[in-house]
Every structure is written in structure tokens, then in C-alpha cells.
Amino acid sequence: MGKKELKVAFLLALRSLQRGSRSSAILTVLIVAMCFTNMIFLPALFNGIGQSITQQVVDYEVGNVLVSPKSGDQYVSDVPATLDLINGMPGVERATAHFSKGATLKYRERVLGATVRAISPNDEKLVSPLYTKMVAGTYLGDGDTGEVIIGKPVAGDASIRQEDEFQPSLGGVRVGDSITIDYGNGYVKDYRVKGIYFTGWSQADSAVYITSTDMALVDPKSVDNADDITVKAKPGYSESFIKDELVQYGVTAKVQTTADLLSKSMGRALQSFAIINMVSLIVSIIITTVVLFIVITIKTLNSRRQIGILKAIGVDKEVIMHNYGFQVIILAVLGIVLGIILTSLLAVYMSFHPIVTPEWSATLYLTPLDLVTNSLILFGAAIVAGYVPAYQVSREDIQTAMRA
């Protein structure tokens, strides 16, 4: 096949699409676009959910690297020295310790079980964006005592009756109100609510935070011990680098990266997502292939006499085959481009209107590689779907074709 033959094949294809049935061409492009969108939407949504959960786990649970008690230990011990050690390591933005205690919160007639987490507010600011999520009041300061910040779901809404609540709350606590916390070890204290926050991550939103200074009064163990230490990496430093560094520097507690933790906790969910993605991908490819196969088969069957005439006047069968091949390529490319536009518009829309659940919120997570990979897969399927009938009809002998 020379340049001239390809040029003629392309001309025939282009004219057939331009001057043939417009509605059929538009419908085919729309179907390819929808199949492309279907191929990419679900995986992008699942990736978005995964990204969102990962980000929230990093932000509010474990940082980039989590230092937790070794098997058999209840706490990470010698916390001040460990924090000094970690904070001095290259690549570490900040490390901060947490000490939690189960407690009962009381406000007026309401009683609610919750986890009280002790933090060093200024260090926590460098590790977690919790301080940016205040919806009322202000964040804790390092020297605060007798003050608490609580999640919005814990604070509740005074306008909702207790029996109508989705999850139990204190029934409408406001900034400045006083709540009583009973720690179960006999220590009971009234705290002024300094702020109310909402992160969208349920585990953070269902907790209450006090300063480590306050926690030292509740449980003196918290001075030297911690449930965990979360470590934030500086930009450009990988989690695994920080983990290796911590181990090399002699941190004896258990050290895990976010990826280590997520692979355990979310491994099965990610596997399920991958299966759903694969099913969606295969169904979309089959639909596109079948639709394009039918479109080109009908076109070739309707044009058999014309194909015979073209062969009679000296047009080679390869030119005839590529004519239909080019038609499919043009339809597929237009469909894919429209699909990319539709998907991008959906991504933009969802970035403003994310899917929000009580556990997480998610947007579409699209990468250029996803777009390119799916485009190539669909393009390949389209070529197969177009060239098979084109090949068959172009091999037909002239007499049979002309008599059609």
C-alpha cells in the first residue's frame, strides 16, 4: 500500500461519512463516547474514593508514617526522646504523639461515649490539617487547659430530636458551652468547648480533642507514653525512605507507612474495585466492538455493488478495505475525543459536587495515563471491529459483489 492508495482510501472514507447518513455517523460517535465514558467513569470514581480515603487516613489518622506499639506493648514508650529523635531526621516535617482514652461525654440530658485524643496542638498543625477544618470557634493552643474541640457530629444539632438522629450526639453543643467528660478512671472534668470542626472523615469527626497538658492530669502515663506517633514527610521524601530511616535511627516501636497500613485494611476493597473496573471495561469494549462491527457490516453489505464497481475500475481490494477501516478510525477518534470531553466535564462537575457519604467524600480521579490507556484500548477494539467486515467484503469476487 502506497501513499496514493491510502490517500484514495481516506478520501472515500471521509466522503462517505460527510455525505452518507449523518444520523448514523453521529449515533455511532455518541455510542463510542458513552462507552468510553463508561469505561473510565467507574475506575476513576473508585480511584477517587481510594485517593480520598488515603488522603483522609494520612491527614487524620496516620500521617505518612505511623509509629505504633510493638506487639505485646500497650504504648509507644519514651515519647519525648523518640519525638526529638524523629524530628531531627532529614526528610521529617514533624512528628507528633497521640494519647487516647475512652470517655463518656455529658451535656445537659445527653450522654455519649467517645474517644478523647490528646494532642500537642502546634505540632499537630504541622502533621494534620485538622486546624483548617474548624466550622465554629477556634483550634486548641498548646497552653490550653479545660478546653476541648469536638467534631460536628458529636456536637449535634439542637433542631433534631434525639430519636430522629442518624448518629447519637450531644444534641446541639455550641462554642462556649461546657461539657463534662468522665474518663472512667474516676477522673471527671468540665471542659469549655473552644471549637467545633468537621473533616468529612468519620473517625476524626466522632472524636474530641484536648491538649496533652490536660491529658497529663487525666492519666500521668501520657507524659511518657503514646498510643501512636504520626510522622509527616517533607515534600520530595517518600514514605518508605522515612520508614527505613526511622528503623536505621533505632526507633524500636513498630514503623509502618500509609501504604503498608492501607494494603492490609483496604486490600480486599481494592481487589473488589479492580474486579468491578475490569467487568466495566470488558462490557464497554464488547459494546463498542459490536456496535462498530454492525455499523461497518451494514455499510459494506449496502455497498457491495459499489465495491464490485470500484474493483472493476481498478481500485485494489486493500484500498477498499482501508476505506472502511478509515471510517471506523474517524468514528472511533471522534467518539473518544467526545468521551474525553464528557469525562473531563464530569470530573470538573464532581470536583465541585463530590460524592459525600458519612464515611468519606470522593471526586473523579483521572490521570492522563488513564485517558491514554483507555483511548488506546477502545481504538484497538474499534479497528478490529471495523477491519474484520471490511476485510471480508473486500475479498469478495467482483461478479458476486456486482450482482448484490
Partner: protein, 226 residues
């Protein structure tokens, strides 16, 4: 120029054997305007299709300029049709999605020895010759039957073929348009010394032919000057 030797074509329809051509032997000279006439089913179109390499005979030989064309491969036959032969069909057989100009230029566009400028010039010249230059950007469906057949003739001669085959080109035309088409064939034959082999069953066409072959039951019944 063309030597046809003992050409046979047998079709099988179930258990019935139909002899469409039964030992046709004849020579066609260069520059000849040959008419193939005969009743319906006499084998006219079958013979034309054999000569034009659109179908394969059951037996016999076709020699064109000392080349046994039946020994050519599929691709060589395609190239032979492109470079050496031209066709005009009964139903015009234009590509409906191409303009008049594109239809005429199509065979020339596939030739290796033609540049784009030359293709445009040749196509314009031929369109002027058939009087349809001003309709060059129209689609076939926007033309009358006679005009479409003239475009079909223009397409057939754009590559300046050695032999032009025409299969009842006036069958779908009224007498006025038929005359116009036949006059065009005569003009091409006289001006370009173009060999033309034309199938017809109209008696009044005889006057245009140099020579007439009459077929009956797949055999040559008569061969003589018009």
C-alpha cells in the same frame, strides 16, 4: 490487439449446466469500435466481463497485446484494469458520495505515474469535452441519467485506457441521451483511436459500430462490418 481463443464459460445451477459462452474465438483490432449484439441471454455481457477481467472463463485464452491476461494474479489483474481498461456500466455505477470531479479523477488518483496537477488538468479537460465542467462539484444524484452516463464515460477514459468496455450504456437512457452518449463514443474512437467494445441490443446503434459480433447461445453467430 485482443485475441480470444475458444472461450468457454459454464455456470452450474444445481444439477443444470448453463453454457453462457461456448467456444468463442475472435480478434479485436486496435482502434476498432466493436459492437456485441444478440438477444437477451446470448452471452454478450458474459463475454464483456471475461474480456474486462471481471470474471474468469471456464476454458480458453484471452491475449491482450501478446499477454495472456488469464495467467495474471489477482493484484496484476487489478492493475491491468486500472492502467489498460476502462468500463462504462449500464447503470452508470458512479460513487454516490463523490462529486462529479472526484468520480472522474478517482482512477487517475491511483496511478503511480500521475501527479496531482496532471490529474486535475486531465479531469477538467474531459469534463469540458463531455460538457459537464460546470457541474463538476455536483453529486451524481443531482444529475440526469444522461449526464451521469457521460460522467461514467469520463471516468472510464481519464486514464486513457487501451480498451474501453461499455455494457449497454444506453439501456437506461431515452433516445436523445442515448444518441448523445453514442456520439461521444464515436468522437472518442475517432479522435483518440480508442478501441471500444460495446454490448448493445438496440438495432439503431449498429450505425455507430465498425464491426458487429452477433452472439446466440454463447456462440458467435456472425462477425462482420456494420
Amino acid at each position: 490487439m485482443i485475441q480470444i481463443q475458444d472461450l468457454h464459460k459454464v455456470y452450474r445451477m444445481g444439477n443444470v449446466e448453463v453454457r453462457a459462452l461456448d467456444g468463442v474465438t475472435l480478434d479485436i483490432e486496435k482502434g476498432e469500435f466493436l459492437g456485441i449484439m444478440g438477444a437477451s441471454g446470448s452471452g454478450k455481457t458474459t463475454l464483456l466481463h471475461m474480456l474486462g477481467l471481471l470474471d474468469t472463463p471456464s476454458a480458453g485464452k484471452i491475449i491482450v497485446d501478446d499477454l495472456d491476461v488469464l495467467t495474471l494474479t489477482d493484484f496484476e489483474k487489478t492493475m491491468f484494469r486500472l492502467y489498460k481498461l476502462g468500463y462504462v456500466f449500464q447503470d452508470y455505477a458512479l460513487v454516490p458520495d463523490l462529486t462529479v470531479m472526484e468520480n472522474v479523477a478517482l482512477p487517475a488518483m491511483l496511478r503511480k505515474d500521475r501527479e496531482e496537477n496532471q490529474i486535475i488538468d486531465d479531469s477538467h479537460t474531459i469534463l469540458k469535452k463531455i460538457g459537464l465542467f460546470d457541474r463538476k462539484d455536483h453529486l451524481p444524484r443531482e444529475l440526469s441519467g444522461g449526464q451521469q452516463q457521460r460522467v461514467s464515460i469520463a471516468r472510464a477514459i481519464v486514464n486513457k485506457p487501451d480498451i474501453l468496455f461499455a455494457d449497454e450504456p444506453c439501456a437506461n437512457l431515452d433516445s436523445e441521451n442515448s444518441k448523445m452518449v453514442l456520439d461521444l463514443f464515436r468522437e472518442i474512437n475517432e479522435e483518440m483511436r480508442q478501441t471500444i467494445v460495446m454490448v448493445s441490443h438496440e438495432d439503431w446503434h449498429k450505425g455507430y459500430f465498425h464491426r458487429i459480433i452477433r452472439l446466440g447461445d454463447g456462440k458467435v453467430l456472425s462477425d462482420g462490418r456494420a
